[in-house]
Symmetry: C2
Subunit: 337 residues, 2 copies
Amino acid sequence: MVTLAEVAQHAGVSASTVSYVLSGKRSISTTTRQRVEQSIRELGYHPNAGARALASSRSNIIALMIPLRTDIYVPVMMEIAIAVATTARTHGYDVLLLTGEEGSDAVRRVTGSGLADAMILMDVELDDERLPLLRSTDQPSVLIGLPADTSGLTCVDLDFGATGALCVEHLATLGHRDIAVIGEAPAVYERHTGFAERTLDGLRRRARELGLRLLHRPCEGGYDAMAVTLARILDERPGTTGFVVQNESAVEPLLALLRQQGRAVPEDVSVVAICPDQVAVQASVRLTSVAIPAQEMGRHAVERLVAKLEGHGGDEVVLIAPELTVRASTGPVPVAS
Amino acid sequence: MVTLAEVAQHAGVSASTVSYVLSGKRSISTTTRQRVEQSIRELGYHPNAGARALASSRSNIIALMIPLRTDIYVPVMMEIAIAVATTARTHGYDVLLLTGEEGSDAVRRVTGSGLADAMILMDVELDDERLPLLRSTDQPSVLIGLPADTSGLTCVDLDFGATGALCVEHLATLGHRDIAVIGEAPAVYERHTGFAERTLDGLRRRARELGLRLLHRPCEGGYDAMAVTLARILDERPGTTGFVVQNESAVEPLLALLRQQGRAVPEDVSVVAICPDQVAVQASVRLTSVAIPAQEMGRHAVERLVAKLEGHGGDEVVLIAPELTVRASTGPVPVAS
DNA sequence: ATAGGTTGTCGAAGCGCTTCGACAGCGAGT
DNA sequence: ACTCGCTGTCGAAGCGCTTCGACAACCTAT
């Protein structure tokens, strides 16, 4: 293993000079810098992470806490995680993967040991148990998702309220008056996951403002659950012509069931999905949808965090504006014959 | 921040004693141990990760390199990653997330800096560019997936050859003679991903042995691609009654298209999938399938790695035996009328 | 009673790096 | 000619921990 001292000796300078070449914290003459850089290359030197962390009390590691659950659409999580890792690298940070399993203990452990300089939390609940800890520690953190009380916290999320409103508006514009919302699994609402509730709020508020009727039903993924849910909806509101779906694993079942019942999409009924673009274009009908900007969320989170680590940028809630893409699953409400 | 020295002072012992209490590397009297543990608790002490890594040259971190691609089924990756993280924690390790983006450079960086003690690589290609490096370094590593030449490497994977054979056998037992294989996207074969080719080998060999006709067609996910692929298959081999699918995003399209053409599953044609159980049970027909044991793979990988780190256990290829679960998508070949 | 072996604890060295204060050398201002 | 202020470099201290050898205290076997 090559050390700083060896590089210094090889280049004929002192260890501190090499350190300053590496960090750029003091000015170094061009000739010296080049000589040192040459030695580094020749010897294949890599600074030792532990020593660095010890001496500088900075690990250059960001901890990312991901949920263990699988009832939320996994590819979105993965895309966020990858975006976080990629963006972090461009800022010189590595990413430590923590699972939600350990909960607050993981926060304590990481903070206490100086393993990471900062952390990003995903799958934040409205009243998350980790929040008090985050507020009390001086380690920077960013949440992906919104808790009920965001004071003293930095958060990044899609504006799910606006997303709900946007879906309703689109359907309203096309003349739909009776709208059904196929939501996430009941468990998601029971644990008060912010995004699900905020979407619902947005949907309801805008529906009220526009004078539409809205029926919300949580739904597990899969065909059987969807069949039951759809039957109930059509029983209760036979005149339903617009659907908003916020549950990726219910999308395809819904389309299949509608087809099976002889309701054509988009001629008879319209469907708007809240899902990643990939799901929208791969579905059996290309879906009009509001995309979940996973990459953007991951990127934003890291950038907020890096800003905090560098001292500028305080607490702030970043809500990403939703964008609705019209595809082949929505159309004007059919003329009553 | 609380240090070892402060704990030592508080407990009235020397620093080294506290260290030995923590590591258990020397025997400590019960009374002393308890006193020290008490002090640790009272002061809320957490050992500093950097200092530890520097002094012991062990970071207690495992690096996990995941692919950036999205043409391979993402939930499987995620499940493996989570299993790795969870299992690692039970052995006292944390997980550093690397993306495939950096390739060999990441391996060099992590190895050189001592950031991690060992690494796990996913999405290994048959002739992976990172292999020479892994062979030449003395840092332990485990691959999830199999390259062409496994000498000097430790690998964990599902036995895809046996998986292919199992699928063919099952269909053969039911009387099917003409089998079509819907494979992964062409790009997956072009980059020589081991698991895809090994599955194909297994399918072909067993089909030959049993005297079945086998037609393999790669296929992108989604409805449009599947429609084209299916049309070609039925054109070329109209008598096809058995399908093997190894592409999660082609499963649902295939079922829909078969239904649409009036071919009932499993009455007219049988479908065997190679996919995670969740996909198999959530499909519109509950699928007979060979599961991809993502968790088990992640767990095994960590356990091999920990064994190597502790000195026992050398290079070895662990192939997990496939298990076929019969569900509702396969049945006896229809009697010719 | 004595040699030999255990057990439990301590002190000190050192892991590889960062960072602070010191200072030599040099050009500019008076 | 002398001082002032740069710029570029160095030496040394120290970050918090692990680990090795030393050794006191005790126990056991002769």
